[in-house]
């Protein structure tokens, strides 16, 4: 459904529905050299850098359900928040080991996602939107009211992390946080890249394009949607856990509606249905936010709204879609 309005991608790239051989393209390798390069070239921006890496991971998780499986969610921050609070609470109550904390954060969010997925996948698009929105708000209110556990509006402070791998302490300059976030993002990206290029990933795209026809070729719709929703929730939980561990604080806004909405914006900006779209969208959004909202938060909100309207009306496939179209055209001319 995401590409119904414009030309479907298979016309731009005839090999779209063939299973990928999983080989890494030159551009991909260059792309993944950027985060380590930034670590050495821009040491003053490491805090922003790790924020970008974490949000990019979060955006990837939404891309799995929205871009690939075509399930619209307005409450994806719920799972980010579950992960953040799990990791944060573990550390507050005396278990500050980062890696196991992160795994537990992902596991808790995945359990949450599994339970919620049954409510989400059964409805039509409108009720999906409403149910995800409602669950997001429900969790926000729950965290707000349960201030004795979560700290409520003041946030959860006193998160103290142990040394990463027992060796590296989290420092104020954010070097370890950056490397840690980068490693987690890259590892999960490789898993997700493998996932979307697998037959399972292809069947998800099939569900997106024609959920009525997929049962006819023997693909179980509900169980696949439940599975991908659970995976996406788990990844979002890991992203939330990363944020809690690297900033050593959990604010109530990790669960807020604006976070879910901004995430959708990033994905659409970068181009949904492409893993790199989520990464690039998150990076562009975060950098723009850093500079523009520094000038004036109100103007920032106005421009992001305008950008969204323009992207929907004119550039439906986002930055990566536009780049891909340009690339195909250039190659066509070269022949």
């Amino acid at each position: 459904m995401t590409v119904a309005a414009t030309a479907p991608p298979q016309t731009a790239n005839p090999g779209f529905h063939r299973l990928s051989d999983g080989r890494w393209h030159r551009i991909e390798i260059v792309f993944w050299l950027l985060p380590p390069a930034a670590f050495f070239l821009l040491p003053g921006y490491l805090v922003l850098g790790s924020q970008i890496l974490i949000v990019a991971l979060f955006a990837l998780s939404l891309d799995l359900i929205l871009g690939y499986a075509g399930i619209v969610s307005l409450g994806h921050a719920a799972f980010f928040g579950i992960g953040a609070y799990t990791a944060g609470l573990l550390a507050v109550h005396g278990w500050g080991e980062p890696l196991t904390g992160l795994l537990l954060a992902g596991a808790m969010a995945a359990v949450g996602g599994y339970l919620v997925s049954f409510l989400v996948v059964r409805g039509q698009e409108l009720s999906r939107l409403m149910v995800t929105l409602g669950i997001g708000l429900l969790l926000y209110e729950a965290a707000n009211e349960a201030a004795f556990i979560t700290g409520g509006v003041d946030g959860l402070s006193g998160v103290t992390m142990w040394r990463l791998l027992g060796v590296f302490p989290f420092d104020l300059g954010g070097k370890i946080a950056y490397v840690y976030s980068m490693a987690v993002l890259f590892l999960l990206f490789m898993l997700m890249r493998r996932l979307v290029n697998s037959p399972f990933g292809l069947s998800l795209r099939g569900l997106r394009e024609g959920s009525k026809r997929m049962p006819a070729i023997g693909a179980p719709v509900l169980s696949r949607q439940v599975r991908i929703f659970t995976i996406a929730a788990g990844v979002a939980g890991i992203a939330g856990g990363l944020l809690a561990q690297t900033t050593q604080f959990v604010g109530l806004e990790v669960l807020g509606f604006p976070r879910s909405a901004e995430l959708l914006i990033m994905l659409v900006l970068g181009g949904a249905g492409r893993l790199y779209g989520a990464l690039i969208g998150a990076a562009l959004f975060m950098v723009a936010q850093e500079y523009l909202s520094g000038l004036n938060p109100v103007y920032w909100q106005f421009w992001i709204g305008l950008l969204l309207v323009v992207v929907v009306l004119f550039a439906r496939d986002g930055v990566t879609g536009a780049a891909e179209a340009l690339y195909t055209r250039l190659r066509g001319k070269g022949k």
Binding site: M1, A4, L74, M130, L137, L264, I265, I304, G305, V309
Partner: protein, 288 residues
């Protein structure tokens, strides 16, 4: 205790009738054009600000500012519908959601720019102040006025839809757009007029609601859930469903905040998820 309960019921009905007034436009646009318009609350906010501006800057009395709010919002609605919304009728719901979130953000930023981030006050005329004693109950005069006005508007709407040529055309277009167009009904014109009416009513609701819901630039997001809830519980395109859902929601919200303030808005969100799971197509929605 019983008196107390009656008071809460009354306040809930007043609140619910306001939600109905704002939500009915959203319900009709969703039913008619199948468009998920998250920016509907922005029209209500515009109505509120127009009302305040007409009163403070042009010196209009409250009752004269209400029609101004209706007309300005309706005109804004029809302009946006013709220029932007109609391009997205065929688009996916995701596109519509993103587009209307974008519009909402712009409206909120613009409102902060022109009117500042604070709450806007409204000066109600003297006869709407205070309490009126009815059957041994002290009822707020303004809320009584609100209920009466919404009652009149609802009856007018029902008459419009059930007994006029325009209403018949709207019903035909909701039921089957293509067949309606084939019968010579100008579906696009019906869409534009309905959108104008819906946004105008939202604007009126926003103006009337300043005293009850408040008015500040976060209004569209703060109440978005309530409007969507009214529509999705009531069933898109059904005036009766919207009314019933709005009243249920209003009463439950007021009662929840009164009896169990510690759980806050939790009641309403839980109710929403529950109702959506039990009635995926809404209380009065047509089963697809």
């Amino acid at each position: 205790m019983l008196i107390n309960f009656a008071g809460i019921l009354f306040d809930g009905i007043a609140y619910g009738s306001l939600l109905f007034l704002i939500g009915v436009g959203l319900s009709v646009t969703m039913g008619l054009m199948n468009f998920i318009n998250l920016a509907h609350g922005a029209f209500a906010m515009l109505g509120g600000y127009v009302c305040v501006a007409a009163m403070t800057r042009l010196g209009f009395p409250f009752l004269a500012a209400l029609p101004v709010a209706f007309i300005v919002t309706a005109v804004a609605g029809v302009v946006l519908e013709r220029t932007l919304y109609q391009r997205l009728y065929q688009a996916s719901h995701l596109d519509q959601v993103l587009f209307s979130i974008g519009l909402t953000f712009m409206a909120m930023a613009a409102a902060t720019y022109y009117w500042g981030p604070g709450q806007q006050p409204v000066q109600l005329p003297g006869f709407l102040h205070g309490q009126v004693r009815v059957l041994g109950l002290d009822l707020g005069a303004y809320r009584l006025f609100l209920i009466a006005l919404v009652l009149v508007i609802t009856l007018a709407l029902v008459w419009l839809v059930a007994h006029t040529r325009f209403g018949a055309q709207v019903r035909a277009a909701v039921d089957n757009q293509q067949a309606a167009a084939g019968m010579g009904i100008h579906v696009n014109r019906i869409f534009a007029l309905t959108f104008a009416l819906g946004s105008g009513l939202a604007g009126l609701g926003g103006a009337l609601g300043i005293d009850v819901l408040g008015l500040d630039p976060t209004f569209p997001v703060k109440y978005m859930v309530y409007f969507l809830l009214v529509v999705s519980v009531g069933g898109a395109g059904s005036i009766k469903g919207t009314l019933v859902a709005a009243l249920i929601l209003g009463v439950f919200d007021v009662a929840g905040k009164y009896y169990v303030p510690e759980v806050g808005a939790f009641v309403i969100y839980a109710l929403m998820v529950l109702l959506l799971i039990l009635f995926p197509a809404g209380l009065y929605g047509r089963r697809v």
